[in-house]
Amino acid sequence: MMKNILLPILAAFAIPVSVLAISAEDVVRKLEKNTVIKTAWTDGCLLIHDRFGTKKTTFISYSRGADTMLIEFTSVEEEGMKILRTSNEIYLFYPDAEELIRMQGAALKESVLGSDMSYEDMTGDKSLLTSYRATLEGIEEVDGAACYKVNLEAKSSDVPYYREIMWIDKELFIYRQIHKFSRSGKLLKEISINNIRQVSGKNIPFHMVLKDTLKRNSSTEFFINDIKINLHLDPDIFSLEELTW
């Protein structure tokens, strides 16, 4: 009888015990190692849902490491527009504008093409562990996959979100879900990942849903149609000079 009562209790405690086998820092390091790709070419699209309907925006992006990326929009509405992210800076190029627009300060809080993503969400070249204090809060299931639940709390105020909770796939070491909070504890953004596929040995999410909880009836879906990784990219494509051509 006593054995019957204790078994579920022991089982419940078994999860934290197993969690202790790996530290939060190790989980985050493994995640970063796994998600950072040397170089990539991506053909994708955004589906932006809001109260007025759904808008589709297509793009091609080039990326190098975790902090350099060039996005070229190919849909008619945004044709010719480019976003260049270098290190911690974001530049916008528009065909009819004679100068590059450098996003900084309050402008970074603005939405990218009316989506649920802000320019600020595209910044941040440091490791999560540099900016956040990580703690492991156990294991939870997300979409049927066991995930480490990692709580990240900001060490300083120079990060867009004071607190983040990440659900990191225990096997694949990619995140399945992220919740981002303000300092007051208000949930600001929700990200969930679906359709993970292997490409050249890397686990790539082909579908991501981002929700800005401050916007009503709004969500943004990112789809990857095609991706090539670890290919040769001319370093000049990430230069400001090249951007204006």
């Binding site: 808008k55 925006t57 528009y94 004679e98 627009i101 309050a106 009316g114």
Partner: protein, 409 residues
Amino acid sequence: MKLATIAARNIMRNKRRSILSITAIAMATMSIVFLFSFLEGMKNDLACNLQTYYTGEIRVRNNNYGKYEYLTPLHLRIEAYEDVLKIIERNNSVKTLSPRIRFPAGIYRNGEIYRALGMGVDFQREKSYQDIESRIIKGRLPETGKKETLLGADLAREIGVTTGDKITILATTMRRGSNAVTLRITGIASFPVESFNKKYLLIPLDRVQKLLRMDGSVTEIIMKLKKGSSSMVSEQLNTALRAAGREELEIKSWKKIPSSYSFIETASSMYNFIALFFFILASSVIINTTMMVIHERRREIGTIGAMGMTGGEIIRLFFIETVFLSTAGSLIGVILGIGVTVPLSITGIHFGKAMEGFSMEISNSIYPALNLKSTALVFVYSVCMASLATLLPSIKAARVKPVEALRNE
């Protein structure tokens, strides 16, 4: 002897007292005449500014635009707007019209983004709609088809630009995309409305349509009507547009559009109460002096009572006396009020920086407008209020018994 003659003699007998009463009424009347003229001027100015810069006398928009106005729903637009213009222009009451696109814009300058409001306009039409050329303090109007802009003077000062400089405008397109264009500043304008001066930049309509990717569309068409036009023009336009299959459009008279004008209209009735308060204050001087007179003239009241004047006649005597005083006071007050208002209606009252931060669409200079109807009303009102205010002491005077009055020293 007639009561009126006795009343006139009484007035002349104590000139100092009479002058005091007349002055009190005159000052109150003058203040009210000026206050009403100032308010009229303010209403005219507000109506003119609202009609010129915001609502027109009649505004045409997509009937769902207002519901989501706070989101600037550019997709809820007037498509094929030139067809709509043709239908509107067929109405003989329409004097001039202006198709416009209003949109929030970011002005990128030296790494900073300044918040502003863009307005796409047809500058040729604006010449007749708002005499825009008279507003230019530097440079010239932008030309259709060119990447040019006209800035409000305060906005230009805030971002530190002048004619010949270039600025890049960032905006959200009709389908909620993003776009930007670099424009050359060809002119700086000084608009009468503070908020317009501080926030607006005017760009050729075709350039804005390209920037916001809304070819052939505008967000609104506003119009001014010929003087004396029928109040049925909105209904006539509505019928014409419905007949042309443009059911998606909403036609609204400016008085039905919520604006600060309705606040001023409400305020007008409050000013009537303020006027009443002024008269009560002035009347208190008359009541006071009449009561003093009655006290001083108790022997006289006793004598005329003993000589056979009835209580009713004594009331009428004092009433006529105050009617004379208030008529004289009101007349002088009205003349003084007109004398103050007329020169100011030409020169205007300049508030300058005092209007800074004032959210209403009121100009920095207000030109008081004399309204003959309200001035005549103020005159009648002054006479009646001041005369009625003396009824109470007059009744009191009539109640004085001749024997008591004669005995009293």
